[in-house]
Assembly symmetry: C2
Homo-oligomer: 154 residues x 2
């Protein structure tokens, strides 16, 4: 099991994961729109953003995407100038849950952030996702904050 940066070939599988959390969508049925292409390229070009995929390969060539998440490395003045890592878009394939893949995904992500020198890794999870909350607490995360969001209209 490895966590590696997503390539353009992985993009349909990543969009399949993001598109419906509880259904296994066939990546070949996914339409990759222009906005997706632009956003994926923007993530790839930004040295502080990574779209990562968990695959079954051990050599970086695994092509079956079992899970994904995005890491954003945020520079800041606190914690002696250490970056913090923000996690978004965490997904594990619906038909592969319950086998520890999510924990492995998060463990590898935290290890990646730690190796980069981040002092903190953080994420938010919707209030109603109580199973996810227990999952993050089991991994050692402290549920220490309230998460606020405001939609912005164009």
């Amino acid at each position: 099991m490895i966590l590696r940066e997503a390539t353009r070939q992985d993009l349909p599988a990543v969009l399949a994961l993001l598109g419906d959390e509880d259904t296994v969508l066939d990546p070949t049925t996914i339409t990759v729109g222009e906005a997706h292409e632009r956003a994926f390229a923007a993530i790839g070009a930004d040295p502080r953003n990574e779209m990562l995929v968990l695959t079954d390969g051990t050599d970086g060539t695994g092509t079956v995407v079992l899970g994904c998440l995005q890491l954003t490395y945020i520079p800041g003045l606190a914690r002696n100038g250490q970056e913090r890592a923000l996690v978004e878009a965490v997904r594990v394939r619906a038909d592969r849950r319950g086998a520890g893949l999510g924990a492995e995904l998060m463990r590898l992500a935290a290890e990646r952030a730690r190796e980069r020198g981040c002092g903190l890794i953080q994420l938010t999870s919707g209030k109603r996702r109580t199973a996810a909350h227990r999952f993050y607490e089991r991994l050692g995360f402290a549920r220490s904050h309230e998460g606020f969001k405001l939609r912005l209209e164009p």
Copy 2:
């Protein structure tokens, strides 16, 4: 009242705000360490990060820093490829609270993110900061998520 990018001259005042939330520290007593210099330069050099200060000037030259926050613009595959804005390090000078400066700071930040094309602005606030929670809810933010953090040891 304007919100503008912090310059190097503002850095001691920003560190004074970040250093002690409830005391007005004299910026001239602040030691700007090498880690602070590096982190401030990293924020300034990153097109997706801004350290912003609220000042009393109307022409961008105001030098009294009344508040600050950091915005990080995060590219992503959701929401048709729109960026989201993450807010960190929100502070208002302790001796100027209760006069609406915090609301103005957040209003200007949301407007800045909206003008950039962000579809969402988000932040987390410590569980015990109940006055802050009411403040964000009054500004229209939905307290929709739980915030998780995990410290990473080097």
